[in-house]
Symmetry: C2
C-alpha cells in the first residue's frame, strides 16, 4: 500500500544509511589485503559483500540516492531523509586510507544531497583514528558541504572516544553547534567473539551493547562536562540507556561514593541529566508502541525523533505504526519534523502533503 504524505508535517527520517560504492571497493581491497583485524567487521561486511540475494539487494538499495530510494520514500510517505555513511564508515580502516576516503565520500554525498535538496540532508563521515583530521573534516562538512551533523559509527579501530586524545572531535562539534549521531556497529574486537560465536554480534544485540557501552563511557568520562553544549543523537530508542536510567543514576552515585574506580569520578549531573540535556533519541529499529511511549515518558517528547533505518530495517508500513500512536497532531509534528529541524538545523520546509 502507499501512505500519503501528511498535510500537517514533514516526515523526516533521521537514521538513514548510504554507502559510497568507492568505500565498498576499499572495504573489499582492505579485507583482501589483510588490513582489517576486526572480527565484527569481517562478520558484518563479509556478509553484505557476499553473494546472497539479501546482500545484493541491500547493496543495490544502499548505494542509490535517486529513483529507488525516492520511490521507497514516496511509497511510505517519508518527505525527507538525513543521510549518513553506513557503519562502520571509514572507522575500521588504516588511518592513511581512512582520512582521504572520508573526504572523498563526503564530497560524493554532498553531490547526492545537492541533486535532491528538498529530500535529503547529509552528515559528515569522519576518521576518528586521526582526531585532528576528523575535527577538520567536521568543519569542512559543516562550512563547505552544508552537512547538518556528524556520523560517528561507534568505535574507531577498536577504540572508544572517551579517551582524551579524541577530544578535538567533540570540541569541533560543540563549537559549530552541530550534532554527532552515535550509530552502532559490531562490538570492538576485545568484545566481539562471545557475540559472533552465538550469531548475536549484529543488530539483534551486539550493536546495542557496543553503542550503549560507548555512550555510557562518553558520559561517565566527563565528555559532556567538558562540552556542556555538545549534542549527541542516538538511535534504537537510546540503546537501552533510558531503560536503565534510574539504575544508572543510583549505581553511578554509589560508585562515586565508594571511590572504587579511578575512572568513575563525580560528574556535574546525574547520568539521566545528560540524557535530558545533551542527548536526543531516534526510533530506528524500534517501531513498537510500548517502548516508544516508555522512552517518551522517560526523557520527554522533545528528545524523540523519527528514524526509519532505510534500507536495513526498511519496512514500508513502519510509518503507519508511528501514525497509529495515540498522540496529538502537534505531538506528531514535533516527533516527525520539528525536533529534527531544531537539532540538525535543517531548513524548514512545507509538508509535501500540504
Amino acid at each position: 500500500m502507499t501512505l500519503e504524505f501528511s498535510p500537517h508535517y514533514r516526515r523526516i527520517a533521521t537514521e538513514e544509511a548510504w554507502a559510497s560504492p568507492r568505500m565498498l571497493d576499499v572495504y573489499r581491497r582492505e579485507l583482501e589485503g589483510g588490513h582489517i583485524d576486526d572480527p565484527g567487521f569481517h562478520s558484518l561486511w563479509g556478509y553484505y559483500l557476499g553473494s546472497t540475494e539479501r546482500a545484493s539487494t541491500l547493496i543495490e538499495r544502499i548505494v542509490d540516492t535517486d529513483d529507488g530510494r525516492l520511490a521507497a520514500m514516496d511509497a511510505a510517505g517519508v518527505d525527507q531523509m538525513v543521510l549518513a555513511t553506513t557503519a562502520p564508515g571509514v572507522q575500521a580502516l588504516r588511518p592513511e586510507v581512512a582520512v582521504p576516503l572520508a573526504r572523498e565520500i563526503n564530497d560524493e554525498l554532498a553531490d547526492a544531497v545537492a541533486a535532491h535538496p528538498d529530500r535529503y540532508d547529509g552528515l559528515t563521515a569522519i576518521a576518528p583514528q586521526d582526531p585532528d583530521a576528523a575535527a577538520d573534516e567536521i568543519r569542512r562538512g559543516h562550512d563547505a558541504l552544508g552537512f547538518r551533523g556528524v556520523i560517528l559509527n561507534s568505535h574507531a579501530r577498536g577504540e572508544y572516544l572517551d579517551d582524551l586524545r579524541f577530544d578535538p572531535i567533540f570540541a569541533a562539534a560543540e563549537e559549530l553547534d552541530t550534532p554527532i549521531y552515535l550509530h552502532p556497529t559490531t562490538p570492538i574486537p576485545r568484545l566481539a567473539e562471545p557475540f559472533i560465536e552465538a550469531g548475536l554480534d549484529g543488530a539483534i544485540y551486539g550493536f546495542s551493547v557496543e553503542a550503549g557501552l560507548h555512550l555510557l563511557r562518553l558520559i561517565t568520562s566527563g565528555v559532556f562536562d567538558r562540552h556542556p553544549k555538545l549534542k549527541l543523537v542516538v538511535g534504537h530508542l537510546g540503546e537501552a540507556l533510558p531503560f536503565w536510567m534510574w539504575r544508572l543514576d543510583f549505581m553511578h552515585a554509589t560508585s562515586v561514593r565508594s571511590q572504587r574506580y579511578d575512572a568513575i569520578k563525580p560528574l556535574e549531573l546525574p547520568i539521566s541529566g545528560y540524557l535530558k540535556r545533551n542527548i536526543w533519541i531516534t526510533t530506528s529499529g524500534m517501531p513498537w508502541h510500548p517502548a516508544v511511549n516508555f522512552v517518551r515518558e522517560a526523557v520527554g517528547l522533545d528528545r524523540l525523533m523519527f528514524a526509519w533505518d532505510y534500507p536495513y530495517q526498511w519496512r514500508p508500513d513502519e510509518v503507519e505504526t508511528f501514525e497509529a500512536l495515540d498522540w496529538s497532531v502537534d505531538d506528531k509534528r514535533r516527533f516527525f519534523q520539528m525536533t529534527a529541524e531544531d537539532v540538525f538545523g535543517l531548513t524548514p520546509r512545507a509538508p509535501r502533503g500540504a
Copy 2:
C-alpha cells in the same frame, strides 16, 4: 520510618543475597593462591573483601540471617525473602573446590532457612563447572533441603550455559518443575576489560550485559525448545530484554532467513514467546515506575515479581515506591505474593499484617 506489613498480601522479596562466611574464606584463599583467572571476579570481590567501610558493612549484612536481616525486613514491611548465594557463588572456583563447597553452603543455608521458616526460603547453589554434579545438587536441594529453585550466578568460569554439555542442569530443573534464577555477575573474562577499565563492570552496566547476553544465548540456542516447561527467573526487569523484545523478534527472524550464522537456527517461538512462556521477571534494582509499568505492559503482570536486592541495593523506602504504583490491591497481591508462591512453589502463608 517503618512501613507496616500489609494486611492484604505478604511481601515476598525474591532476589535477596546471602553469603556463607565459609565461601568468603575460600574466595580469599583461592585469590591468594592465584586460582581465579577472572578479571571481573577480582574487580568485584577484590572490592568487597577489602577494608573500606562500605565493604565491611556489606559483608556484615550479607552473612547475617538473624537479627540484622530480620530487623531490616520488619522495618520495611517485607514479610519473606527467597535467599540465594550471592554472585558468583562457587561458579568462579576450580571444579574440585566448587562442587563440595556448593554442598556445604547449601547445607548451611538450609539451616538458616529452618531457623526462620516463615520468613525465608532458599535456592540451591550449584557448580555448573561439573554439570552432572550440579544436576545432582539441584535434586538434593529440592528433595532433601526443601529449596524452592536454583541460583545460577551467570557464567561458570567464563562459560555460558548454552553449550550442550550443561544440558543436565536444565533437564533436572525442568523435571523437578523448579525454577532457575539467572542472576548477573561481572562479564566473562573475554568481555571484562572494556567494562573494568571504565569502572562499568558491576551493577551499573556490566552485570546487565553479562546476564542479558547469557539469557539471549540460552534462548537462541534452543534451551527452551529442548525444555519447554523450564522456568527461568531474571532480575533487573529482565536485563533489558523486554525493552528489546520487538527488535529481538524482528532481527532473529531476519537472521534465521539469511542463514548467516550456524548458531542461529529456527526456533519454535519468537524470542518474545519464550519471554512470555518460560521466563519470569523481578524488579531487583529497578524501583522506577515508568520501567516497571513498561515491562508489565510488555510481558504481563503475571510474569512480574517483587525483589529488593538486600543488602546490595537495599533502600528501606523501596517498598513504598512499589506501594505507590497506581495498581489495584489484587494486582499488588499478585506482584508481591501470588506469582512468587506459584513460580517458586512456596508454602502459602497469611500476611503478617493481617
